[in-house]
Symmetry: none
Subunit: 409 residues, 2 copies
């Protein structure tokens, strides 16, 4: 399946860097989309929120609802973001191991193999009785990681890092390693962890090293309780993708408080700007670097966490917080502003969902529609359509920034 | 990349020629789409225009907005038309040389190689100082073409024709010629014209001939000022595409005042009807040949020119002119009428743009939507959708003309 990244490279004679210095900002409000909530009189959090600033841009902008992957498909944060950045998430897959590494800011090298680990519980027959070892506290995890770190592997450097609770990261660094391995996690209880196994002919060395690691980990943890074994999944190497900069000819900077989103941006070659933990810090970072880049990606995380906690009111409040920062962004005079989310996280479901995500695009070259309020229902009749592919947004951003030449005579 | 042309051939058992003699008309209003204009109280020219006849069909028809190429992509006139005719413009590319030949009605043979030429200015070091030689008047161009026509090339017939101002057409006719050459136009000033170079292994002969032409042209023009050199681009042969008639099983005629549009229609094998320069002449031609064809393409050019001149009022007037001719078309009793444009040409931008183009489809088999006024904003909520692929229109036209059989049992 060809993504916009390929299509656009083959199609368009680019105006290239700095032709006109039109600047764009992509505001990604994590988990923005939601469902009607009885607690909010049948409104969604976005509809219930007081968002005078977003509504104001709506009136001069064009709206719609986008789908990050495909109809009915619930995107992870990785695919959700990649689609917004113009990368077909079905083609550009990030392994879970790599995502875990990005998530804790591990400095993954190009030949490292990363895997996501679970501390689990096995019984005397070696069968898994709890895939999450009773969700041990993070402090226990730290202690167990210290034990695993003592493991010696032939000609291979081993990195073990705590992620959270029962989750840890394993990274192998050495020659001739591959990420083409099946998971050792059987995914159900009552089965033994699966034996490490390669998916390609050149995976023997890696398989042997992982076997040795698993065996030594089993030995080292055998007297621990309840976490007395490890399960590994998502073996993967850092992918070698076309860069955002090379593809779209934009100098782009990412401003994100959370490591995973910085990591994702780094994967496609965006510059990562140091910033603080709050939205306000991100806006200050934006101001500080405003003259240095053509395009900025700003990430607002807390809406998603509120949705995952099923906290309607907090989600409303977090959306209103984003809205209060909108004037500061507009004061910089961006030529193109896009506001959307990487997926929906309905407070009712407390998890990511497949529901299309509201989008607002503003530039002085856009063709305003009749949408006057930024919300799920209002965006249905927007000019961008009610279920359009998220990958359309980058070409639209470029077009609105006068960055694309005409196709054909 | 598969276009509708291929898809439909593989999918659909056609009813074939003349099954039921339902007749269709495709009215293409060049550059129809536009943006909100302050001068028109925030309306687009189409929204501001008084179009009682189009609005009347709207009430019984189905509307929407189509994208000729892809989201954010600004189509040239070639790709814009091809998409409407069901040809994937990404796959069916016309070279600039061929388009130039079509534009001046040059009778291109299947083995001819055409290139678009610029008269340009070079300095004593051979570096281009003006790619358009100060936009010399067409009269000077005619004079320079006469000089170039004297050039002798080995075993190759040379045709040189004036296009306009600094633009000319070069055609090579002979054995074993190919259009697979890079442009000699360096695209920026301060560089020498690029040496002719082939893109394939069998291009040696053509490369040598073009080198000889360029060298002799340089010599012949060296005492001219400011146009003392030539730049060539878009080397191409007339493509050998599936015909419209063969694909859609329609006897189709093109009625277009401007040569380029006749040429485009000829490329896909439509019959070209002789007509005059005005819309009224085109309608007379339509009446005259009404009984001879299943399907007519009528082209209205002047809306696009008004948009390119940034002349809102003239664009409004030209749209109203088309509207006044609509009853004459309807009087003929067509079974299917489609009205749209090949791209948008916003008066504000004075150039083609990526914005979706309003579409109106009427037949007594269509399912009317709630759109009651033909305009950009009104069409957003039309039944065809706010950003659908232009290539959908031909299958819809065929279906509405009862030309397609059921797919599958």
């Amino acid at each position: 399946m060809e993504g916009y990244v390929e299509k656009i490279k083959s199609l368009i004679p680019y105006s290239g860097f700095g032709k006109c210095r039109l600047k764009g900002i992509f505001v990604i409000i994590d988990g923005l989309g939601d469902l009607s909530c009885k607690l909010l009189n049948g409104k969604t959090p976005l509809e219930a929120a007081d968002t005078p600033n977003l509504d104001n841009i709506c009136k001069n902008g064009i709206c719609g609802l986008q789908q990050p992957v495909l109809s009915g498909i619930t995107p992870g944060s990785g695919p959700g973001h990649l689609a917004l950045f113009g990368y077909d998430p079905v083609k550009y897959k990030v392994g879970r191991g790599v995502l875990s590494a990005l998530g804790i800011n591990f400095d993954l090298k190009s030949n490292d193999v990363a895997a996501r680990g679970n501390f689990c519980t096995i019984d005397e027959n070696g069968q898994v009785t709890d895939r999450r070892a009773g969700r041990i506290p993070t402090e226990k995890n730290v202690e167990l990681c210290n034990i695993l770190r003592e493991i010696d592997l032939p000609d291979t450097e081993l990195f073990i890092d705590t992620v959270k609770e029962y989750r840890f990261l394993m990274v192998l660094r050495g020659e001739n390693l591959t990420g083409e391995l099946i998971d050792t996690d059987p995914q159900i209880i009552g089965k033994k962890p699966l034996n490490p196994k390669g998916l390609t002919s050149d995976s023997d060395r890696t398989v042997n090293i992982v076997k040795e690691f698993v065996s030594k980990a089993h030995n080292a943890l055998r007297h621990q309780s309840p976490a007395n074994m490890v399960l590994l999944r998502g073996f993967s190497k850092k992918p070698n993708w076309p860069t955002f900069k090379g593809t779209f000819k934009l100098n782009c900077a990412a401003i994100a408080a959370y490591p995973m989103y910085r990591g994702l941006a780094k994967l496609i070659g965006m510059d990562i700007l140091e910033t603080g933990q709050e939205l306000n810090d991100e806006i200050e970072t934006l101001k500080k670097h405003w003259n240095e880049y053509d395009f900025f990606y700003i990430h607002a995380k807390k809406t998603d966490s509120a949705g995952e906690d099923g906290d309607f009111d907090r989600k409303v409040a977090k959306i209103e917080e984003v809205d209060r920062h909108i004037p500061k962004i507009l004061d910089l005079g961006p030529d193109v502003v896009i506001v959307t989310g990487d997926h929906s996280t309905p407070s009712l479901l407390k998890y990511h969902s497949w529901h299309p995500v509201p989008v607002l695009l503003y530039s002085n070259r856009c063709r305003p529609d009749n949408v006057e309020r930024f919300g799920e229902r209002a965006c249905i009749t927007g000019g961008l359509g009610p279920r359009f592919p998220a990958q359309d947004l980058m070409p639209l951003a470029l077009a609105n920034a006068d960055r694309l030449d005409k196709f054909g005579a």
